[in-house]
């Protein structure tokens, strides 16, 4: 169990840092980290477009590979656009290519609403917003995890119960042995730090 704790102290790495490290072609750890960060985004994005789990994973891998190649060839310049937009472009192409040979009837994405894959693709803004949502989810989850690592357990728990769990201040205070104000402060501190990290990451 010790090693698990150790892993939790994993350092906080920003996008810029990951990209910098990625320039070293021999570093497999960085490559793993890069995939760890961005694979879930592509996978969830692909799943939203009605692609089965196994293929979504393939799409994610392919996206990572295409990006890595372009990145090492120096085609990606952070100045020209955010990493998110770039990866979106790559992922979109990969998924479209994967689906290229499909008969239309197989492309029903969301069976509850009857929206087909092609409908989604037609509306570029729509899929872009899906991507953005996935991206934000990833960033928030990353940051949340980091805050949890940094903060005192009680403070974070107070934030969780009060802010996320919507429990009354009094109940949270009683449960954790904190004053009302301390609960409010906990919420404020966690959120502020979260904002900082979020800004840092992007």
């Amino acid at each position: 169990m010790d090693s698990r704790k150790e892993r939790n102290k994993m350092e906080w790495v920003t996008t810029t840092q990951v990209l910098d490290d990625l320039k070293n072609p021999d570093d497999t750890v960085v490559w793993h980290r890069f995939c760890d960060y961005f694979n879930p985004v592509v996978i969830n994005f692909a799943r939203k477009l009605g692609i089965p789990a196994a293929d979504a994973e393939d799409a994610a891998q392919e996206t990572m590979m295409v990006f890595l190649r372009a990145f090492r060839d120096g085609k990606y310049q952070p100045a020209k656009g955010r990493l998110s937009s770039w990866l979106f472009g790559v992922a979109r192409r990969v998924i479209l290519n994967m689906r290229g040979n499909q008969p239309l009837e197989l492309l029903i994405a969301d069976k509850t609403t009857g929206t087909s894959f092609w409908d989604l693709i037609q509306d570029d803004h729509n899929i872009k917003s899906e991507w953005e949502a996935e991206w934000r989810r990833m960033v928030i989850n990353r940051s949340l995890k980091q805050v949890r690592r940094e903060m005192d357990g009680k403070v974070f728990r107070a934030f969780e119960l009060y802010a996320l769990g919507d429990e009354p201040v009094e109940q949270v205070g009683a449960e954790l042995g904190m004053s009302r104000n301390a609960v409010y402060i906990a919420k404020s501190r966690v959120l502020s730090r979260l904002r900082e990290l979020k800004g840092e990451f992007e």
Partner: protein, 783 residues
């Protein structure tokens, strides 16, 4: 007013303040930069909170990264307890780790694979289920699963430790035949799993280890799904598994079946033959595209001397449509075994057939244009159309099935029939009232024909051909028996021609003849045989009936020959000089064939050849073979040895024709290859047959030994170029030798049937054995 606490600020931001205190609060904010900053921050925080509440749901799904992973040997040891002693980590990835360990109880090396549990992943449960199934399966070519376990929500699989190289590495040192043997082991393993409904899903060289024996061991049955993402991420390259994916694995929705494994096995076979991948693209998109829609390069284009049946088997396994592939590993293995047994493999990859059909279609279109422009006649069009139709028609499965009947199988049937006939004759020679004597033969013929036609209607083509060929062979005998025994059209009341076979048979030694037949009866029976052969040929279209038709035609022709009294025709004037026009015409034919005057070549060559054969035969009959002058041979011996010399000449001529290489010459060579052995073997048999002949005993012994030797040489000579002519005449020669031996040994009436039975057995044995040698000869040529 004092600075408000966090509660008040939050209330303010959320709009929970009452109207009267709001004004006071805002006044304070205006004068207190610290508080106003706090409010700004609080507003941003609340916005973030909204976002957080929206996206936090995904939290659980991905928070597990890094958890549930067994990374070190110590950790592995702690999970496994005392039963296994972990030695080292041998493989690792984001979704599973493999350790080498010792089973401390049974003291054997094992490989332990830890599976990462993913709450969202149903695949994991499926892997688990299949691993349990696999643990019940014990196969020499599958790395056995000893145990599946779970400890502290950590699942692991304990497998046999295999010390070997990946398949493609091991192949580098092996020859084609050894490679095939290893590959058949793989097929056997996968087939065993398929029978249990387990699909491997990820067959590739790194999942197949070859031990030093060499023997293949297939790893990761049904548990390989996870390894897929593992490998590609680990290497940072999209290689390995995607290259072995079937079209249905890279097309949505993914439908995996046993045929999916067959595709991967097809890729392995392709590598086995060519040492290259059928889809060599490294870019995943191009690769998937190729797998979905491109046909691979023909193996024979990459590597010389690839056995074409193997190539066709391989391409059939690589069909895009799963339904067009072999249904499972077993049927793929059966076809390869069929090749190794020397049987005909009729697997045709559909795209080759499609290609032929396409080309033929265009050509037929052209024919119409040519005809409209009066470039070709209607008759020529009809002939071409007939040929094309025959080319395309094998799409009918029943015809393909009947054509699968290889020469060796036909021989097996024939052998079977000979045994039956021998027994029948044996029976017949014992007690039977004359009137009923033909009954068994008639009954058997009718029964065989009836069975055969019924089988044909039920599309059991192989059996049908067997029965019908037996019936076909019984027909002339049954008719002769009936006519002879019942005295219809019998000799001498009804007779054509100058001399009767009956007379010759009457001269035969006592006990050899039990039947008196006349020329009319012979004529009728041979004509009926020919008619039935042609009828069966038309109905069944199997090549065996071509052979029967030819034999029936020859029989009918010889009866006509006898009736016409041609036996007496021995012109005294024929000399070596007569060879000149024959040879001249033949050479002229060859030249015009080479010079593209093809229309004259066929008649010239055929007429030339006939002249040569007639001339040489007459010369042999007149003992004019100069080379035989030196020795003190008897007259009969000279005649017969003359024919033997002729046979050798025909064989040499056949060799020359084959070397000339045009289609016509090849056909002529085939004809000569029939003439040669018959001219050699038949005289040897005749020389040894006549007990009252003036030939000295010593010479007879020599011929008696020569006949079986020559026969065996012909049978084995057929191996190299798959010549039916040598094979059949060799078998005939062996039959004659066997008959002679049984006659000498038994010296009574039973010699005939017994010899038939023995011949049949030997015949069957040889036809079982020779094709195997042929196949291994082909493989050796490749090596």
């Amino acid at each position: 007013m004092d600075c408000p606490d966090f509660e008040s600020i939050e209330k303010y931001i959320l709009g929970h303040f009452k109207a009267e205190s709001l004004a006071e609060f805002e006044e304070h904010l205006g004068g207190c930069p610290a508080c106003s900053a706090k409010v700004g921050e609080g507003k941003a925080n609340e916005e973030l909170l909204v976002e957080l509440r929206t996206y936090e749901k995904g939290h659980a799904e991905f928070s597990g990264e890094g958890e549930g992973k067994i990374e070190t040997t110590d950790l592995a040891q702690s999970v496994l307890g005392e039963k296994y002693r972990v030695i080292r980590k041998v493989g690792e990835g984001s979704s599973g780790q493999v350790f080498q360990a010792v089973d401390t109880v049974l003291e054997r090396l094992v490989a332990i694979k830890f599976l990462r549990r993913k709450s969202s992943d149903q695949a994991c449960d499926e892997i688990w289920r299949e691993a349990r199934l696999m643990s019940q399966l014990n196969h020499p070519n599958i790395a056995q699963i000893f145990e599946v376990g779970e400890f502290d929500s950590q699942r692991f699989i304990v497998m046999e430790w295999v010390d070997g190289q990946p398949l493609t590495e091991a192949w580098k040192e092996l020859q084609l035949q050894q490679r095939l043997r290893v590959y058949l082991g793989v097929l056997d393993a996968v087939a065993a799993a398929h029978r249990r409904g387990i699909i491997h899903r990820d067959i590739k060289p790194s999942n197949i280890l070859v031990t030093s024996e060499p023997k293949a061991k297939v790893l990761d049955f049904g548990i390989a799904v996870e390894a897929r993402s593992l490998e590609s991420i680990e290497r940072g390259l999209y290689r390995g598994t995607p290259g072995y994916s079937a079209p249905e694995q890279v097309t949505l929705p993914v439908k995996v079946s046993a045929a999916t494994d067959v595709f991967a096995l097809g890729i392995l076979l392709y590598q086995l033959l060519t040492d290259a991948l059928p889809f060599p693209q490294t870019n995943a998109k191009e690769l998937f595209e190729a797998i979905r829609s491109d046909y691979p390069e023909l193996p024979s284009a990459l590597q010389e001397k690839i056995p074409i049946p193997l190539q066709n088997i391989c391409l059939k396994a690589l069909e895009k449509e799963p339904s067009k592939r072999y249904a499972d590993a077993q049927s793929l293995g059966e076809d390869i075994q069929r090749f190794l047994r020397g049987e005909k493999v009729w697997s045709r990859p559909s795209f080759l057939t499609d290609k032929i059909q396409q080309e033929v279609f265009y050509h037929r279109q052209k024919l119409k244009v040519w005809h409209d422009n009066e470039l070709i006649t209607q008759k020529e069009i009809d002939r071409l159309e007939n040929i094309y139709e025959r080319m395309i028609s094998p799409a009918d499965p029943s015809i393909i099935e009947s054509r699968k009947l290889s020469l060796s199988q036909v021989c097996l049937y024939l052998g079977g029939w000979i045994v039956v006939l021998g027994s029948f004759v044996l029976l017949y020679k014992w007690e039977m009232r004359p009137y009923w004597q033909p009954m068994p033969a008639l009954f058997a013929t009718a029964l065989m024909a009836l069975f055969g036609l019924t089988m044909w209607r039920r599309q059991e083509s192989r059996l049908a051909v067997g029965f019908l060929s037996t019936a076909n062979l019984l027909i002339p005998i049954a008719i002769l028996l009936t006519l002879g025994q019942w005295g219809w059209l019998s000799y001498p009341e009804y007779e054509w021609g100058t001399e009767s076979i009956a007379q010759a048979l009457a001269d035969a030694p006592e006990g050899e003849s039990y039947l008196v037949v006349g020329n009319v009866q012979l004529f009728i029976s041979s004509a009926c045989w020919l008619a039935f052969s042609l009828f069966f040929l038309r109905k069944i279209r199997s090549s065996i009936f071509v052979i029967f038709s030819v034999i029936a035609f020859l029989a009918w022709l010889s009866v006509c020959y006898i009736i016409a009294g041609m036996e007496d025709w021995k012109p005294e004037s024929v000399s070596l000089m007569y060879l000149i026009p024959g040879a001249g015409l033949f050479v002229l034919g060859v030249v015009s064939d080479r010079r593209r005057y093809v229309q004259y070549a066929l008649p010239l060559c055929v007429v030339g050849l006939i002249l040569i054969v007639v001339c040489l035969s007459v010369l042999a009959l007149k003992e004019k073979m100069l080379i035989l002058e030196w020795s003190s041979l008897e007259e009969a011996e000279r005649v017969m040895l003359g024919f033997v010399v002729n046979g050798i000449i025909y064989l040499c001529l056949a060799g020359v024709c084959r070397r000339l290489g045009t289609r016509l010459q090849r056909t002529l060579a085939q004809a000569l290859n029939w003439l040669g052995p018959i001219h050699i073997l038949a005289p040897l048999r005749i020389l040894d047959s006549n007990d009252e002949s003036p030939i000295s005993e010593n010479h007879q012994v020599v011929y008696r030994i020569l006949l079986p030797i020559a026969s065996v040489v012909f049978v084995f000579g057929s191996v190299a170029r798959q010549m039916k002519s040598f094979f059949f005449s060799g078998l005939g020669g062996i039959a004659a030798s066997v008959h002679k031996i049984t006659k000498t040994v038994f010296q009574d009436h039973f010699s005939w049937p017994v010899s038939l039975i023995l011949t049949g057995i030997i015949w069957m044995f040889v036809s079982w054995l020779v094709p195997r040698w042929k196949a291994s000869a082909i493989l050796k040529r490749k090596d």
